[in-house]
Symmetry: C2
Subunit: 183 residues, 2 copies
Amino acid sequence: MARKETITIDTILDTAFAMTREEGFSNVTARKVAAKAGCSTQPIFRVYKNMEELWNAVYERAVAFYQDYYSLFPRTGKKPFSNLGMAYIAFAREEKHLFELLFLAGGPGTKSMYEVLNGENGNVVYEINLARVAGCSDPGELFMKMWIFIHGAACMTLTGDYDLSDVETLAMLESSYEAFMAR
Amino acid sequence: MARKETITIDTILDTAFAMTREEGFSNVTARKVAAKAGCSTQPIFRVYKNMEELWNAVYERAVAFYQDYYSLFPRTGKKPFSNLGMAYIAFAREEKHLFELLFLAGGPGTKSMYEVLNGENGNVVYEINLARVAGCSDPGELFMKMWIFIHGAACMTLTGDYDLSDVETLAMLESSYEAFMAR
DNA sequence: TCCAACGTATAACACTTGTTATTTTACAAG
DNA sequence: CTTGTAAAATAACAAGTGTTATACGTTGGA
């Protein structure tokens, strides 16, 4: 009845997402995706109405990717927020372009930082409760301060202005937690 | 002997810099600058070899602009690093595109964050000495922590994830200073 | 086997970019 | 006033963008 499809929607999205990781969001153009996928631009517009739809799909995939990344990240920290921070900073180092897209770009149609962080598992809420249990009177404010700090370190890794080892980073995060707790 | 020049290098640079403030660096194209300056693209390439030279000039102007901004910023803070931080965060709020260019973009030919902050007046060194005088044993590490925190707050203003008043921000910066000092 | 239908490729359109070749214009010296 | 020179404007080129019209193939049922 009809020809069999050789380029699937998965091929397109996989390619576009891989390109975002490697070259950044702005390099994901119709022709470049097609070239990398080994086809013409036509299959892209068969499965996606236009490039904006593909970009949205890539964004959603990046959100899921970060949440998986966090789920699988080894828990070496012993204090509230330290694992959340270690994963976030490592992500900024290892996935610069995805980090930019998720946490620096903003723009319409994007989720808030908190939404992405908290995810479906309530990762942030969980850590805030840890702080409450540890005796913090205002865990919301503590989270805000910790997150400003963590976000600052992560953003500085992008520009090369922050480059401590994981051990040093963990120590810094936990000592900052203690410092903020003490007041 | 020859025609009088009507479009000066200052006109070009002023226009390009104003456009960077308002629309961001990526919108500074030859044709758009020309349109805004009310001329063709030709005068641009008379005074600048190519667009990259103009972009470099805009960048240098942004560096000078930030240093003026900091010089003129009202000193309301009483503790080390608080004025440095208040100015930086206000700059992120009021000059999003310049902040992005100076402190988030990185890339070749750009100065380091520290270079821009310290400026010719040694603004950072001055604040570090204040901390030393205040009895801090490792003012370098204190600066690092404070700066990570300040940079985090500034970056979060860009995405709309931070929106405290100046009074609240100052209180937060000074309490963080105290917290970091206490350990 | 043939053919309709759908996936893919090719080519084109309209637009934007930096840059450059060409033409026009204004100015001042002779 | 003429004329040479430099500035500015116009127009073009080559490359790249999203998108679409058209042509080509392949495939599976009649």
